[in-house]
Assembly symmetry: D4
Homo-oligomer: 165 residues x 8
Amino acid sequence: MNKVGIIMGSTSDLPVMEEAMRVLDVLGVGYESTVISAHRTPDIMADYATSAISRGLSVIIAGAGGAAHLPGMVAAYTALPVIGVPVKSRNSIDGWDSILSILQMPAGVPVATVALDGARNAGILAAQILATSDTQLLERIQSFKEGLKLKVANTKSTVENHKPS
Amino acid sequence: MNKVGIIMGSTSDLPVMEEAMRVLDVLGVGYESTVISAHRTPDIMADYATSAISRGLSVIIAGAGGAAHLPGMVAAYTALPVIGVPVKSRNSIDGWDSILSILQMPAGVPVATVALDGARNAGILAAQILATSDTQLLERIQSFKEGLKLKVANTKSTVENHKPS
Amino acid sequence: MNKVGIIMGSTSDLPVMEEAMRVLDVLGVGYESTVISAHRTPDIMADYATSAISRGLSVIIAGAGGAAHLPGMVAAYTALPVIGVPVKSRNSIDGWDSILSILQMPAGVPVATVALDGARNAGILAAQILATSDTQLLERIQSFKEGLKLKVANTKSTVENHKPS
Amino acid sequence: MNKVGIIMGSTSDLPVMEEAMRVLDVLGVGYESTVISAHRTPDIMADYATSAISRGLSVIIAGAGGAAHLPGMVAAYTALPVIGVPVKSRNSIDGWDSILSILQMPAGVPVATVALDGARNAGILAAQILATSDTQLLERIQSFKEGLKLKVANTKSTVENHKPS
Amino acid sequence: MNKVGIIMGSTSDLPVMEEAMRVLDVLGVGYESTVISAHRTPDIMADYATSAISRGLSVIIAGAGGAAHLPGMVAAYTALPVIGVPVKSRNSIDGWDSILSILQMPAGVPVATVALDGARNAGILAAQILATSDTQLLERIQSFKEGLKLKVANTKSTVENHKPS
Amino acid sequence: MNKVGIIMGSTSDLPVMEEAMRVLDVLGVGYESTVISAHRTPDIMADYATSAISRGLSVIIAGAGGAAHLPGMVAAYTALPVIGVPVKSRNSIDGWDSILSILQMPAGVPVATVALDGARNAGILAAQILATSDTQLLERIQSFKEGLKLKVANTKSTVENHKPS
Amino acid sequence: MNKVGIIMGSTSDLPVMEEAMRVLDVLGVGYESTVISAHRTPDIMADYATSAISRGLSVIIAGAGGAAHLPGMVAAYTALPVIGVPVKSRNSIDGWDSILSILQMPAGVPVATVALDGARNAGILAAQILATSDTQLLERIQSFKEGLKLKVANTKSTVENHKPS
Amino acid sequence: MNKVGIIMGSTSDLPVMEEAMRVLDVLGVGYESTVISAHRTPDIMADYATSAISRGLSVIIAGAGGAAHLPGMVAAYTALPVIGVPVKSRNSIDGWDSILSILQMPAGVPVATVALDGARNAGILAAQILATSDTQLLERIQSFKEGLKLKVANTKSTVENHKPS
């Protein structure tokens, strides 16, 4: 069963948001994804969020740009943890609007915000949340973290042997 | 009949938002006001916005602080013009979050944003909108603007006669 | 009769500002447009704004970049609602100067500010203002909003079926 | 058993961070808390994070101000979900340094960032994470969210009956 | 004859702007001062600026806060050098709006901008401009600069002898 | 005799700074130009500024990027009016560093700051300063301003006749 | 012999800058201190910096606010390492001007910048620099760092035993 | 023996960081370099920093982008002076996150921060630090500074003879 719902405000967010899909594939976590616009399809957003628990979702990842209301409004409608991805979209002021619109939620309705365009980390965070009750997934995440170390180890010789011309 | 609906995310926004009420009183425009939180009472917000036209409202003024989603979400649910007032509330980063969350709406769903804590201007703007089909109100607004000139004229002697010590 | 006046500080603002024209065409709202510079042609600006009501205008959309004084100065000269479009022009600091110069108007003289380069929303907002006394236009705006929903519905399969490689 | 570990960079962060404790008490979630400085006690930080899983923790909440490295470094050492609270401490530039130091983590090592001084939301988020495998806790969170609605309902009469003097 | 015209958008700017008066008194430069609001009294502003040369003014100092259009609009109407003072007024976002509204003038219409609340420097700059054709004034300015050196010399012992407790 | 000295921190500033030369040529004002680095050639800077009056200069235009100390330090050494041009050079953070380093001078030592990359306005401002004692130059500046109006008049038909496709 | 020279732009910087003195006292490093203004006493600044090596100084700590040119200009005149302390003085825009004026030095002339009002760290850094050739001082710094750990250990019980009311 | 350790968070930082290597080569200072990620290889970072003194290093240069914790964490583990280079990497918000994460260190643990992408200055600063006990190196740095003057002298004719077309 898909435990993670990935939503984004526009198809133009897909190149950023697919990083969440990619890392969830790597970690063996099922997900579903769709486009929901807080401002263009508010009723669909409300339905999606209200029914999320009964449909079996455990975590929602929501990405949006500009005045990014999608993550916060989904969090308003559900008790599930919601991860927000600020997207530096074409209609964004260097990403500041997306970040502040998602991060600065009022007391009572949290959104777990990741870095600008940080969909990969959103995926990892979703897996970490699920892993709080899934020790096999926790082990896969620990292996994944070991892999990050190896990647550094494998590339550092480029720097160690570098002679500036 | 009240033509203007004034809503705010929290009772703590009242000291700012009452400036809208005050100037609408001066201009002879009826209004109603209430507290609606986009994040704490999303269903009430949706109902309010969806039924606004049928209840006889012509303009909505919405004020909120922090990740201020109220103006934009109300605009998502209604075809009425929505005026957004960024409030520099306690949980705001110098007001930047409120401003950007309200101003940077995506194409298709405008919010008429006024200055930080600019509820007085929100009230005047609401009156100007109604005055596009109400010549008597237009005249009262023009008188109001004349009054602004007089106030400058009446106070400028303080500066003209000032001798720095 | 043209109800909306669209003005901009420079011909270089046209690629941004024509979005307002385009959406007003879609919504069936007449408009006129011209170039007026607050700083280069202040007298023409004053004449334009002072005579706007008698020439039959109901709403003015003004776009400008950098130290963008055009919207606020037009608002100083007329009781009509003025919509300001901050333009991220070549001589702008990432748009912050345009936004703050237009948004932060003093109490008494509002400008209805939309997003950076948000001329499309300025057009929609102008239509919404006119629709407060034109139920047929209101219906066209409501259809337009339905169209936004359909566009999301039509494109979401791209995301739903996406498999990251 | 305490599932949530709350750490902060300095005792001066306590007035902010105790909001996390308070809401976890309300939601019936056990926690432990201590002071760990990334820069003054890096070894203790490494030990705390490395042993967190074996000590039975499921979520870590870390709050810090200025160049706030504590949340990100703890996330470097553990596979548990880490929630970061940017604190607007005395040595912070309006909170921007705290926010960016916590939010902008590189791909591979997420921190779930909440609003500036948003410790209350950090506590709720921790509970939401634990509730992904604890339906009773989920119900308590849902009741808590209902309580937020009631609070709005109970206070809105202040605004509805307000007459600006 | 008064060579310098000092104007400000509001009497509330006087505590900042009187520093210009004070230093012009010290340097023996005549000035006149009044309140002119770009947004509330645009016609008076246009008259003031258009007639400035014929009334004998040589330099204009204009101070304003928020969306500060006064300096730039005066510069639009006159060929005299205009010095702009961004004022951190109550309705300003930490002064950023005042600074950018005054500084970022388009090519063709300069405003000589000084620091936030920097009216004292505006006065000195006005004197420096007049001194380009007044050698006695130039000498007074040079003496004034010598005085600045002396002030440092007279106070430095406080620091040189300081023993932190 | 050349009345205006144009200096810049690096030859890489020339594409920006030559706009000052160009407009001074148009206005018939003589100038000299050179490269002086506050940080690389501080002694040459001190000599240049200290001897500026005796060499016949009346105004200095100084452009620099990044931590732009050239305008302020030149102003420290001379009683002449100094115009500062913040340059958005390669080593600048979107120009903010250049702007703040030039604008925020302490009381006593003004720099007349123009817009980011606003060298053209620096040239016009220099001419305006000289024109306070040169009525023929003042007339040329007034003609120049008339030319700005004509340019708007000549291009506005592009916008007036525009039909968005 | 005093190895560290501490200078500041104004006596008003003393409450910030004395933290450098205090920590150098703790670490047993001799220093001298005085007031030097880059803009008011540029010649004294040039003399101070040019003669610093011959007077036996090894490190210079320079603190200033606003358009803070003192650290960078001192670095222009000497080959000694210069530590810059951005001071959030009265004439500063939340410290951003001080930070950027000191930090963003051009290639060739570094300033070792510490945090806003971070004079204590400037003192420690000066000691660390001297300790590169003084093993006894290095040991004192290491003891000092151990002391930081102890301070955390001694205060953490406040947090560990805290019960939010 | 190599006295300077150059580390960076990722091989992608090499194009920026090699400027430090290049200038150290020019100044005749030995260095070693490698990749260490605070977040991906925290244990290697701790080992590197803890053993730095015993391995003979005297100064560490650390460059990183985004939430740049490497310089500050290395400073936490060693008493050596640490120079931080904020890198405007792909995952950085115009460099603001890198700058603030490195600069705003808490009292007790300094990082000597240089300009954004300022690795060349980091190299010079490292040499200046070593030169506090190496008069020959000090002379080479003084020659280097003379060379900066010559470069200005050699290029200024481009500007002096420039005729804008």
